[in-house]
Symmetry: C2
């Protein structure tokens, strides 16, 4: 697998059940892309989500890398920078995001681990931070979205996309999509 | 259906296909609850998501109302306060959230419409605001999460829960769940 660049933010989806999890795993990947991450790392069996996210990149732009791997544990354990694991059992996002942001300035790249099915306790140990977006049960997609928006302090909403075929123009009412030049 | 209280924020899931959408619709409901909304309004056929969210309320606390209705269009059209429709085609969330927050002070309650399958153009017309959390395709759950976190300016993360059976205690590592007193 390609090594991450220094300032990169990668999202790793831990666990995937083909069929049952396809949509949720796809949404994790699309949310990572839309909200400023540079790369999604899927489990090797997440073929359909990887195809869908790759297709969105080709139509709506990048750069955004889509990877699949059968060595999720090794990637987390041997990550060269900071590892954040999002879990409802972790520390409160409002208490730790500033510290994470500061640490990533020195200890990048950042890997964000998103649980699907049951996450083994090792992952809690390997992570530098276990972070909860509320200590309530809700959605790994929602947790990832809020974490990224807070990590980047909204700057991710201003990013520009390269090599897009289509561009959506914000409208008060209705839909406007133009072909990129 | 119960009338919303004046200062309430309700989330309405527009459209649901039983089976195929169960998990995504459930995540919309759980995200609404966890991130500060007061009520979820599901389509009448969303029986399984309604059961799951109701179960979470009974175990992790409320108050949070779970409604099902076969009159989604009438609820949106005749809403007595402000209607926000989240869509990737809308105005940029970073440009309009402050205005929405101010308007809701005078023109509450707030209804947030979350599309599932194709949303008819009428909904764009009925809404006071069509709002995009990025103009990129990603996830209605992610969009709802970021919108609520920005609407409430993070205060939703501090809320306390009444009548919970279980309380998760934030931990740097591992899991700690205690029975509520």
């Amino acid at each position: 697998m390609q090594q991450p660049r220094e300032n990169e933010v990668s999202v790793l989806r831990y666990g995937h059940r083909p069929g049952r999890d396809d949509r949720m795993t796809t949404h994790v990947g699309l949310t990572a892309r839309a909200l400023g991450a540079d790369q999604i790392i899927f489990p090797d069996n997440a073929t359909q989500p990887a195809e869908t996210v790759t297709d969105i990149v080709s139509r709506f732009g990048g750069p955004f890398d889509v990877q699949r791997t059968d060595t999720l544990n090794a990637i987390i354990r041997e990550w060269s920078g900071t590892v954040v694991h999002l879990t409802m059992y972790g520390e409160r996002v409002q208490d730790v995001t500033k510290k994470i942001r500061e640490r990533c300035l020195h200890d990048h790249p950042l890997l964000i681990v998103i649980g699907g099915e049951k996450v083994p306790s090792d992952v809690y140990e390997w992570a530098d931070w276990n972070v909860a977006v509320t200590n309530q049960p809700h959605s790994e997609v929602a947790g990832l979205a809020v974490f990224l928006d807070r990590l980047f302090m909204g700057k991710e909403l201003e990013q520009e996309w390269a090599d897009a075929e289509h561009v959506v123009i914000p409208q008060a009412c209705g839909k406007r999509v133009v072909d990129a030049e």
